[in-house]
């Protein structure tokens, strides 16, 4: 059974069809990419899967169970972790608190524990603390754990967001343009982190990217999206040589 299966998903914003008949079959451990020009509907697809929008038509199955209509936090705790295109961080919180926060749904001590500081709470908070620090280690920002997030440079904020998404114990990680706004050096480091996450944690990763270089290097299978429809799907070579993709990106060849 595939990990995530999407059948004929469509979504309308008023009269505008943003996503049309989108299909996806995601096996465990895959890295897939989604490319497309601006406004093609890539982020909308992410928002539909993670429950921020509810699809007008179609079905989304996670491990064979439909997740359409569930609240975003429920979907997230079922194993869909994500990052955002424009960083969405909590500006008054420290790096460590960010990662710990993502353990919210896994906490067992309840309100009584949070009010009275029971031994159970202290134990659980200590466990979360250790886990958060090890995730920060994985993405390479462990030394900044006590800093308030706004004091971090942009690239490090991206890493924290990644660690935060990992702390939700995802089975699929959705990365929405993880290298947006990065310089070439940061870009290479970020690609290294994504590879590491994939290799060490065996996570399935779904990647939206603008930079074709990143997608071509990382992903096994790529979908190209234009105006809400998938126009091509295949390996990086297939996509690179597909005339429709070339047309969408570069325009039609015109012979005078």
């Amino acid at each position: 059974m595939p990990l995530l299966e999407i059948k004929k998903m469509s979504h309308d914003f008023g009269g505008l069809r943003a996503v049309n008949g989108y299909d996806l079959t995601f096996e465990p451990g895959q890295i897939r990419g989604l490319i497309g020009p601006n406004g093609a509907g890539k982020t909308t697809i992410f928002n539909l899967i993670t429950g921020i929008y509810i699809p007008t038509e179609g079905d989304i199955l996670l491990n064979g169970k439909s997740i359409v209509g569930l609240k975003p936090y429920q979907i997230a705790s079922m194993g869909l972790g994500r990052t955002f295109q424009n960083l969405r961080l909590w500006r008054h919180m420290t790096v460590l608190e960010h990662v710990k926060m993502a353990r919210y749904s896994k906490i067992n001590y309840g309100l009584v524990g949070s009010f009275f500081g029971t031994p159970k709470r202290n134990r659980e908070e200590a466990e979360i603390d250790d886990l958060a620090r090890s995730l920060l280690e994985l993405v390479g920002v462990a030394h900044l754990a006590e800093q308030v997030i706004v004091n971090l440079p942009y690239g490090d904020q991206r890493r924290v967001e990644m660690a935060r998404a990992l702390a939700t114990e995802p089975r699929i990680l959705f990365l929405d343009e993880p290298t947006a706004g990065m310089n070439p050096e940061e870009l290479i480091q970020m690609m290294g982190i994504i590879r590491r996450i994939h290799n060490e944690l065996g996570l399935a990763i779904f990647l939206i990217e603008h930079r074709l270089k990143v997608v071509m290097e990382l992903c096994e299978t790529i979908q190209a999206l234009v105006f809400g429809e998938v126009i091509a799907e295949g390996t990086s070579e297939e996509i690179q040589n597909d005339p429709r993709v070339i047309e969408a990106y570069l325009g039609k060849e015109k012979i005078l």
């Binding site: 936090y73 961080l89 909590w90 500006r91 008054h92 500081g117």
Partner: protein, 446 residues
């Protein structure tokens, strides 16, 4: 000329730093011990000293009233304050600093919990001796402690959750009336509810139940606001909660069974200083525990970015609900305490002026901070008592101060600072504490 004028602030600053360094080795316990010595001194030598300096009696609130009423007595008052408070505290703190530091580190290694209890006992001793001088001091202290609870409870909603709630006087009214009805009905013979239903001796033991009941009634009232307003954000909650406050007030005014606009009086005198001190400590402890846990931090996440919180498995609706009810609960408890301190409640107490006061304390002290709430509540309460002789001008000076705070520190005096008890009671080793980010010290787990 220019050089000296440029140099003087710098040297002032370095002098201030030298002064701070001089006292930086003193742990909290040292300051408490110094304070204890000062209040003991005042207890036994205060009256003769005051007469010697030409003061009519011991200056009650650090001499503010005397200074404002009779400017001629300023020198005497200042000397009194120096002799009784400043010098003893400074000398004891400095001289016994190293001894107390050793004691503190011994206590800390023995058991941090025990160390906290020792600190609290000392603080209680200090407060009870200080307030033993006059009934006015005792009342001011009691109202200040209640203000601490109220401010903390409002800070959960307005600071930690980042909503703007105006319903706190309403919650306090619900708590005050519920607790009063229980104690008057059960333990007191009075004109509204008739003879007592239970023996009077049970009263003090049942009083916590009455208070918690009042808190729960306030929390139930909070549900009425939470359900309609949490679908939206921002101004709606402010408007709905303001309406709630007025509804509660006029409802009580029209309920003849609880005395209508005349209010309820002759509540039993259950809230003595130790009781109130314990309740305040409990409120600070529980609220601080909550806001430092991941479940409490979720409030900050919801405030700063709700969509991200949602995507990180935080149940945002439940989080907001819990925080709102929790804040209302403590407001209700504080209301119950207030009713039994004043031994009289009427609906007029819980109007727009109370709201302004509570909001001022929260925003003056600092959002998202337990420290800030304590500082705001104590500072505002003492200031408003101290400026009482100025009568009308008080209402010009206090708002002016608030405006200044809002201009120079828009989030309040001590905002976004974590209240870590372990850091507070830790022995002071190095002379200069490293000031890290605005977030405050490094978190240390006990």
């Amino acid at each position: 000329m220019k050089a000296t004028s440029e140099n003087s602030p710098k040297s002032n600053r370095s002098r201030a730093r030298a002064f701070r360094e001089y006292f930086s080795g003193v742990p909290l316990l040292g300051w408490l011990a110094g304070g204890l010595v000062a209040v003991l001194l005042e207890r036994f030598l205060g009256t003769p000293l005051a007469h010697l300096l030409g003061l009519p009696k011991v200056p009650v609130l650090f001499g503010c009233v005397i200074i404002l009423k009779k400017p001629l007595l300023i020198p005497g008052t200042v000397i009194y304050l120096l002799l009784v408070y400043v010098l003893p505290v400074g000398i004891v703190a400095r001289l016994c600093g190293s001894v107390i530091n050793r004691l503190v580190s011994w206590l800390f290694n023995l058991s941090p919990t025990f160390s906290v209890i020792v600190h609290l006992c000392l603080l209680y001793g200090l407060l009870s001796i200080w307030s033993g001088i006059s009934a006015y001091r005792l009342l001011t202290l009691k109202l200040t402690l209640i203000a601490v609870i109220v401010t903390l409870s409002l800070n959960i909603i307005n600071g930690y959750m980042g909503e703007f709630s105006c319903s706190h006087p309403g919650f306090m009214a619900l708590g005050a009336y519920s607790a009063s009805v229980v104690t008057l009905l059960l333990f007191v013979d009075d004109r509204v509810f008739g003879a007592a239903l239970l023996p009077e001796a049970l009263g003090p033991f049942m009083f916590p139940v009455a208070l918690i009941g009042g808190g729960i009634v306030a929390a139930v009232g909070a549900i009425a606001i939470a359900i309609p307003s949490f679908r939206t954000r921002g101004d709606y909650l402010a408007i709905i909660s303001l309406a709630f406050m007025f509804i509660v007030k006029s409802m009580i005014e029209n309920l003849e069974i609880v005395g209508g606009p005349r209010g309820l009086s002759s509540q039993p005198n259950y809230v003595n200083l130790p009781t109130l001190f314990l309740w305040t400590v409990a409120a600070v402890w529980i609220i601080n525990n909550f806001v430092r846990s991941v479940l409490g931090k979720a409030l900050n996440a919801v405030r700063d970015d709700e969509m991200a919180a949602d995507a990180m498995t935080v149940n945002t609706r439940r989080t907001k609900f819990v925080a709102f009810l929790f804040g209302a609960f403590w407001a209700g408890v504080a209301g119950g305490l207030l009713a039994h301190v004043l031994r009289y409640v009427n609906p007029g107490t819980f109007g727009i002026q109370k709201l302004a006061e509570v909001l001022a304390m929260v925003y003056f002290g600092g959002l998202n901070s337990v420290y800030g709430s304590i500082v705001g509540a104590v500072g505002y309460s003492l200031l408003s008592e101290a400026l009482r002789p100025l009568e009308l001008f008080k209402w010009i000076i206090i708002p002016l101060l608030l405006i200044l705070v809002m201009i120079f520190r828009p989030t309040g005096l001590i905002a976004f600072k974590e209240f870590n008890v372990m850091n507070l009671i830790r022995p002071k080793g190095k002379p200069i504490r490293e000031e890290s980010t605005s977030k405050g010290g490094v978190l240390i787990r006990s």
